[in-house]
Amino acid sequence: MAEIGHYALILALAVAIAQGVLPVLGYWRGDQRLLGIGVSGAQTQFALVVLAYAALSLAFVDNDFSLTYVASNSHSQLPLIYRLSAVWGAHEGSLLMWLLMLTGWGFAVSLSSRRLPPDIAALVLATMGAISVGFLLFMLATSNPFERQFPVPAEGRDLNPLLQDPGLIIHPPMLYMGYVGFSVAFSFAMAALITGKLDLAWARWTRPWTTTAWLFLTMGITLGSWWAYNELGWGGWWFWDPVENASFMPWLVGTALIHSLAVTEKRGVLKSWTVLLAILAFALSLLGTFLVRSGVLVSVHAFATDPARGVFILAFLTIVLGAALLLYAWRAPRLVSDGAVQLVSREGLLLLNNVFLVAAAAAVLIGTLYPLVIDALGLGKISVGPPYFNAIFLPLMVPLAVLVGLSARIGWKRAKLGEALWSLRWVALTTLIAAVLLPYVLERSFAWLAIAGTALSVWLMIGALLDVTHRVRSRRDRWQGLRSIPAATWGMTLAHFGLGVWTLGVTYAGLFSVEKDVRLGPGQSAEIGAYTFTFQGTEHREGANYQSDLGTVFVERSGQPIATLNPEKRLYPSQRSVMTESAVDHNPRRDLYVALGEPIGDADWALRLYYKPFMRMVWFGGVLMFFGGILAASDRRYRLERSALNAPVTSAQTAAT
């Protein structure tokens, strides 16, 4: 079976080459038959990669330890669900998953290709085919998951226990969907550059794909943060770890791209900027892959290293980015704007938003790459810590948040700043009052950072709703008004509201968290604010493929019992590794977090205790953005058929979602 998988990959490579080359030739010669190869190629390739993926999954289900990859990442005692998710638990398999996503996106585009002009569809699919060629070559040359080994070991080395967690089952696929999804926007950008046509229709085709990629990335990052919080036992939710940054940079640029696409659609301006962003978003996704896979990073995520892989991806990145930028330099001047941009107008503010987002991405990029560059130049070994990222990132987010509220009252094309500000006076006043009151009411604080953070958060939440309320008020029949609001507007409202919720979470969890590392014996207790944590000791447990010490901690608030928490320390014998399973009692208002540190002496343990206000809001904000993205991508106007009317609705977007 494994050989079938391997063979399918080789066939897929052949198909991908044809898909990458022939449609371009067809475009050049005006040959419709060659153009059509894009669609059939994408579908064949997808089928082949699905076959390969199924073959590898089957090997995991059957515990086929003759495959090196299975033997190093699975174990006969491993629960089935983790055996299936172990497929993407390490380098080779996650690359196959990556490829599955890439061809899946290609397949989705091919399904909706009837809505596109044949030449655009063919060029988009050809670009995706060319990207596939790169990844297939990479896989077959350096990271074949179907490699056999002899002698066959009797038992596997087990999946990294860190990855044996429900959060980790879906975090990588979501993230990859996002990363790889930007390849569609990239391919559309290439098609626009080659044909020199970038009009309203192009923007409408590209937007839902970009939004869909973005929403997956959003969810992937959110899940990753939630997983780190629960599994790493440090109680942190974001570490500015280079690999986190690798996913965050495409997110920032992708967010900028979504907004600049809106401008391109509505006003026909910023065309070449939009194309550039599409190129950058995908380039940063590739850079992320390079950072994670090449082993240049010290990180939770860094897989076993092989310099050849790093070199290959770096070369691939150079070719893709180099070719794209060359094409851009040559053809972008042809993309003529349909008008000018006024600073005080919605497109002007969106351009400003783009500037801040891209500047933030650049700052993160510098902080991430600087140590690597210094090291490569032999100038010493340095690291750039979270304080840098916080110092640079947070100030850049402030104007962004202000802009969101402002843009709700600024129209397209040209607007009067004074009028807009005047119409926002009540919102501003409410924001100010809330900003001064809330930190005091919630945390008894007048810290100016808390006031500023609350102000931004409230401003964002109210500002997000303004568009909706305005549309409702402008109709005489309110219900009619509410129903006439397009899905895209609801999506935007929800996502911006989510950003407000996220800001609230970041502000309070960041400023008012209390952490205590304590040494407690059974019966002893420690206090955080009004909460008393009493340690009851630990008992020994046997799990499916691990042994554990299960602790019990009673939490009381002013004498009233609140929760019983059971943090756990697990030992996975097959990998001889120890895992900390924290225990959290949460409600929207606060998290109480307990993690077992280490045993000290006879029965004492080191315990990590946390009080984190509004911690859930950080992830809830991300989830709101995710659903906002779904609403926006599902807007009807993106599904209008090219040849109008009768054709059945085969919505690739909903399929992809």
Partner: protein, 164 residues
């Protein structure tokens, strides 16, 4: 405003923004950069005192001493030199004697290192690249005999407290 003027305003805003970001960025970068040292560097007085740095090395066997509360002291060494490290807090799951770790903190005037963060890596044979290089061994494994054997023969002694 004429079209030309408005464009100039735009360019001005952009340039100003970029310049501000660059200034802030490099200021923040300079202030938050941490250099990596080995015990040999510290012994040779190559590292600044009382500045936040990262120190990588192997935890010497039998050097871990627990104090009051969560206080621990241990000796961090490379193949040539040792330095005493003080740390108050919870050690990571993968912290074991004989293993490579990276401690973040500052070197005091008394020559002892006070750490506020200790990182250990997930794989027993894996070592932070900078540390591996510091130990003059290219393959990421190390062979300083006093600390740990390359093939993990001392495995049982390495298993965490839990296994006892």
């Amino acid at each position: 405003m004429t079209k030309r003027q408005s464009r100039m305003v735009w360019v001005g805003v952009l340039l100003g923004g970029v310049a501000l970001a660059a200034v802030l960025g490099f200021k923040a970068l300079r202030e938050n950069m941490m250099y990596f040292y080995t015990p040999t560097d510290l012994a040779a007085n190559d590292a600044p005192r009382n500045a936040r740095v990262r120190l990588g090395g192997l935890v010497e066997r039998g050097s871990l001493v627990r104090g009051e509360g969560l206080l621990v002291t241990f000796t961090l060494a490379d193949c040539a030199q040792k330095v005493s490290v003080r740390y108050e807090g919870i050690l990571p799951d993968l912290f074991r004697e004989g293993q490579g770790i990276v401690a973040t903190g500052a070197l005091g005037d008394d020559g002892a290192f006070t750490a506020d963060e200790v990182l250990a890596k997930h794989d027993e044979n894996y070592m932070p690249p900078e540390l591996a290089e510091g130990l003059k061994s290219a393959d990421g494994r190390h062979n300083c005999a006093p600390f740990k054997s390359v093939n993990g023969n001392l495995a049982s002694a390495d298993a965490p407290a839990l296994a006892r």
